[in-house]
């Protein structure tokens, strides 16, 4: 196998695997920017994966599946928003509970759906003309599906929303200093709900992508801890969608590269790699000297009550 084919294969798979990570990371970035830590990503993703598959399987419309996956993720995240924003409960525990509930529910509901083949997945496509560009063509424009491109498009859009629009200013203000935002008439509760629900929607979509595009089938626990990696990537991204893209793809590339070690390392140990990478990535971030300037939103995981500061 020539090095060219090798690079193409690795990078092409990187895009495919990095996409669900990126989608969910973008969602978590918004939730955390508004000051709500949602550790329920894994739970919302698995619910999205389950519902997306069921809809795609029964209706034959994979896109409808993805949409419903997002809606289910969004609805699911409302529980977390209610408990952590309205009831002001501990966000770490609430997020864990959401994950448990999601894994449990998807397990209960999904029992009869395991192992069924999805005949109508989202198809891989080849972009005419562009795919014949050497190297870049086959990586970017061959064998990828539309979700991959839409996600890439979403990144600059969300960056613009966060840093160049009124709602973006409000979101960042709410995550940084909710009392200030409140005193200026920004509805802190509404912004936090919106961001958590948006995060839930994207986590659901990411799950749906897994079951109707990436691996068109449904299995218990098919998210396999991706939700937790998303939490790590959000930190790695410094809560910025652009870095979120870099982080997700970098992580996916490392993931695939590690499988090139198969000749020397046993497959079980290789499977542990992504989780070790996630820790390494965080260590790398902690070493960054810009920590103070690019730190977490100041009010992250702090509930807001008017008049109590």
């Amino acid at each position: 196998m020539g090095w060219e084919t090798w690079i193409i294969a690795t990078l092409s798979r990187t895009l495919a695997y990095g996409t669900p990570l990126l989608i969910a990371t973008l969602g978590e970035i918004f939730a955390e920017r508004a000051g709500v830590l949602n550790l329920g990503v894994e739970g919302m993703m698995i619910m999205g994966a389950y519902s997306g598959f069921v809809i795609a399987y029964t209706t034959g419309h994979p896109w409808l599946g993805i949409l419903v996956a997002g809606v289910v993720g969004a609805v699911f995240s409302i529980i977390h928003a209610f408990v952590s924003v309205t009831l002001k409960a501990n966000q770490v525990v609430s997020g864990l509970a959401l994950t448990m509930l999601g894994l449990g529910l998807a397990g209960v509901l999904g029992r009869g759906w395991e192992g069924l083949p999805l005949f109508t997945p989202i198809h891989k496509m080849t972009v005419p003309v562009l795919s014949s560009i050497p190297v870049l063509g086959p990586i970017l424009f061959k064998g990828q599906n539309l979700v991959v491109y839409l996600t890439m498009l979403l990144v600059p859009v969300l960056w613009y929303v966060l840093f160049r629009t009124r709602i973006g200013i409000s979101i960042r203000a709410v995550g940084e200093s909710p009392a200030t935002a409140d005193s200026l008439g920004v509805n802190v509760t509404r912004i936090r709900y919106l961001c958590v629900i948006f995060g839930g929607f994207l986590a659901g979509v990411a799950g749906g992508y897994l079951s109707v595009a990436y691996r068109p089938s449904w299995t218990q626990g098919m998210t396999g801890g991706m939700g937790w990696i998303v939490i790590a990537l959000t930190i790695f991204a410094f809560w910025n969608p652009i870095y979120g893209l870099l982080g997700s793809y970098l992580f996916a590339a490392l993931y695939h590269l590690s499988f090139r070690l198969q000749a020397w390392v046993s497959p079980e140990l290789l499977k542990a790699m992504p989780y070790l990478f996630a820790i390494l990535v965080l260590i790398f971030v902690a070493q960054g000297t810009l920590k103070k300037k690019m730190g977490a939103p100041a009010a992250l995981s702090v509930p807001y009550t008017r008049g109590e500061e």
Binding site: R166, E176, A179, L184, G185, V186, G307
Partner: protein
């Protein structure tokens, strides 16, 4: 005043604006009535730019999109008119405190406020900056704005206001025309009894040298130099007041002296022994007490009881622990005695500190820090946010310590406090000592100039 701004709802009564009753259900509603507020602790988002802080929460008819050029133009217009110049693109955290206050006022004006509520606006300013602020306020009033100026400093009331309302325990005691009243009368209205303006103070009995600080240097949280070669000495039985506008190294000085921050250069000598960069515990054990600024976030553990908070530093030593076990009996006795001695008002010794009033929390801190008769006391803003009665008590306690022979470093942004309490006054500006002068006969204008960076001639 928070009700006027819509943060709290009134239980009863009504608010009239231009003769019409209105209901202010939220800060947003306050805005529609053109009521703006400058809070004591600025309501600015430090990570956002000045312009972004201006438009936060506003609907300017451009939908979700922003017109940065127009915003910048509008900011410059208002800024020039009232002398509030500031760079709209700067991030708020990069600005000085004085500049941040300008941004606060700008923000209210940007929102077309007719009524401007100002909560203790001068506490963070140098006397010169105060003059500048008052000039701005006068132009605003000339332009037809109404300003509600909240302060506990009587001099300011006399200087800036047209009419005064005195509040005591949530009740309006009286409203008078400033021209028809005087300081003494207002003070009487405030506390309900006659107040003595000067503290009874015994003459200083200066003893041995306790603390020597030599060419001390340290960085702030952002890694920038905060102390740049600070030197001074403190003697037994004296209070050294450290004056300065907030953010000029006072916080870092207190932290280095108590072992909470590393010195990057220079020496701290305590009774002849070099204690530079010793741990907080070693310095406390050497007889240094620390009354920190943040009594709720640092000085106490709010969710723990009075009994536990009183042994926060001495829990490792007998009688409070034997071997690895704590002695609850000893802690109980200690707490009972302390509550009595310092008149801490609480249901019992197992009350969580968080339910106490600010004054009582400060009494807990003092009771703990002053137990064991410390040689040196570092007191940072010891009366900040306390009511008149508690303030007086805290000051008396510190003076008693001084008379006992302790050396005291009193860090405060309240010049009046510094002037009344200190024996000598040190002025910090941008991490450097502008001069050390005797408090006796010190002029406030001279200290003000030093706080603004004019160095005292070396004698």
């Amino acid at each position: 005043m928070r009700i006027l701004y819509g943060l709290y709802q009134p239980d009863e009564g009504e608010i009239l604006l231009n003769g019409k009753p209105i209901r202010i259900s939220s800060p947003r509603a306050a805005l529609t009535y053109h009521i703006g507020m400058v809070h004591q602790h600025f309501r600015l988002v430090p990570t956002l730019s000045v312009a972004e802080n201006m438009v936060l929460g506003l609907d300017e008819g451009t939908g979700p999109f922003l017109n940065y050029r127009q915003t910048h133009k509008k900011i410059s217009q208002i800024a020039e008119k009232y002398g509030l110049v500031v760079d709209p693109q700067a991030k708020v955290w990069q600005l000085t405190v004085g500049q941040q206050q300008r941004v606060e006022i700008l923000k209210a004006l940007y929102r077309q406020a007719d009524v401007l509520i100002m909560d203790e606006p001068t506490s963070v300013l140098t006397p010169q900056e105060v003059d500048q602020l008052f000039a701005t306020l006068r132009t605003l009033v000339d332009d037809g704005l109404t300003i509600i100026f909240i302060t506990h400093k009587l001099d300011e009331v006399m200087e800036i206001s047209d009419r005064v309302t005195v509040l005591r325990k949530g009740k309006a005691i009286a409203t008078v025309n400033t021209a028809d009243t005087n300081k003494a009368e207002l003070a009487k209205l405030m506390v309900g009894r006659e107040v003595v303006f000067r503290l009874e103070k015994n003459p200083v009995k200066r003893g041995e040298k306790i603390l020597a600080v030599d060419d001390l240097q340290a960085l702030n949280d952002r890694g920038l130099p905060a102390l740049r070669g600070v030197s001074f000495e403190v003697y037994e039985g004296e209070i050294l007041g450290v004056a300065g506008v907030s953010g000029n190294g006072q916080r870092e000085l207190a932290e280095v002296l108590t072992g909470l921050r590393r010195a990057t250069g220079g020496h701290v000598t305590l009774e002849g022994k070099d204690v530079t960069n010793r741990s907080a515990r070693e310095i406390a054990d050497a007889g240094v007490a620390h009354v920190p600024t943040e009594r709720k976030t640092m000085g106490t553990v709010p969710s723990m009881t009075i009994r536990e908070n009183l042994i926060l530093k001495s829990y490792r030593q007998p009688p409070f622990s034997h071997g690895m076990f704590l002695d609850n009996k000893a802690a109980e006795e200690n707490a009972r005695a302390a509550m009595k001695e310092y008149a801490i008002l609480a249901p019992n010794i197992d009350t969580a500190v968080k339910v106490l009033s600010g004054g009582n929390i400060q009494r807990v801190v003092l009771a703990r820090e002053l137990s064991g008769d410390p040689r040196l006391i570092i007191a940072a803003h010891p009366t900040y946010g306390l009511d008149v009665g508690a303030t007086e008590q805290v000051r008396q306690i510190l003076l008693a310590q001084r008379d006992r022979g302790a050396g005291i470093v009193l860090i405060s942004e309240d010049l009046e406090e510094i002037m009344t309490m200190s024996d000598r006054i040190l002025v910090l500006f941008q991490g450097q000592v502008m001069g050390i002068i005797d408090a006796e006969g010190a002029q406030i204008e001279r200290i003000g100039l030093m706080m603004a960076g004019t160095e005292e001639e070396k004698k």
